[in-house]
């Protein structure tokens, strides 16, 4: 990859951009890039970035804002009346703590550039950019709905499972805590 790397460009996908040849050998990821990505951009649902060589789309990723809501069971009500109410009502009001996040929606590497470490460079860059963006807008986590075959990759990068409820499914929900970059 190093010898071709000088020709790479990082491009924000827009409606007028002509997408170059790309095949990551995954029908869904290919279809998203060619059929959906521009529409998602127009609708503000996901922003897609392309890494291009002179002749091909080397890789792409799409990202969007997300949030993780966590239910706090031991939420302490401020007044004694509310405490009493909480004990009397069988389904007390749940308190949700919300964490701002950035979700990696899609990440695809062209078959000619696989197994060359490009995926970890891209995800590392997403993590780093999100960390730096905290000067403008808060972002605590990177989230991803990872394909089973990519779980090892994300684990190696420090991502954790959000829940055990999705064990055995074709994808697993994972997160990376950006605060760790402060350490």
């Amino acid at each position: 990859m190093e010898e071709n790397s000088s020709a790479f460009s990082l491009i924000l996908l827009t409606d007028s951009h002509e997408i170059k040849l790309f095949d990551c050998e995954d029908e869904d990821l290919n279809e998203f890039l060619f059929e959906k990505a521009k529409d998602f951009k127009k609708q503000f649902l996901a922003t897609t970035f392309l890494i291009e060589s002179e002749s091909r789309t080397v890789a792409y990723y799409s990202i969007f804002h997300d949030s993780l809501n966590v239910e706090e069971e031991d939420f302490a009500s401020k007044s004694s009346f509310k405490k009493l109410l909480k004990n009397l009502v069988s389904h007390p009001k749940r308190h949700l703590k919300s964490f701002p996040a950035l979700k990696i929606g899609r990440l695809g590497i062209d078959k000619e550039y696989k197994n060359q470490g490009l995926g970890s460079k891209i995800v590392s860059n997403i993590i780093h950019e999100a960390f730096d963006s905290n000067d403008r807008q808060a972002c605590k986590l990177i989230t991803v709905d990872a394909y089973n075959q990519s779980i090892g990759f994300y684990r190696k990068m420090g991502f954790e499972f959000l829940t055990s409820n999705d064990e055995g499914e074709d994808t697993r929900q994972m997160y990376f805590n950006l605060s760790l970059l402060h350490l």
Partner: protein, 72 residues
């Protein structure tokens, strides 16, 4: 009851948004019970099995990515 209705509306709107695609991206779940406790404890103590070398590697890889991209 009101909260349940709100959740159903949210769920339906998410299904509408994400079913446009062949393989939908699952929405990030609301963490409850043991999952919530584990998550909050990890955040509180900044506990995550991410070694210093992994963090160093992320920084290094991000720099390597920037070096790959030509300036326009």
């Amino acid at each position: 009851m009101i909260y349940c209705i709100y959740e159903i509306i949210c769920l339906k709107s998410h299904i509408f948004v994400y079913n446009i695609m062949a393989k939908p991206i699952k929405i990030t779940p609301v963490l409850k019970g043991r999952d919530a406790i584990n998550f909050l404890n990890k955040l509180k103590d900044n506990k995550q099995p991410t070694s210093n070398s992994s963090i160093f590697s992320i920084r290094k890889e991000a720099e390597a990515f920037k070096a790959l991209i030509k300036k326009k």
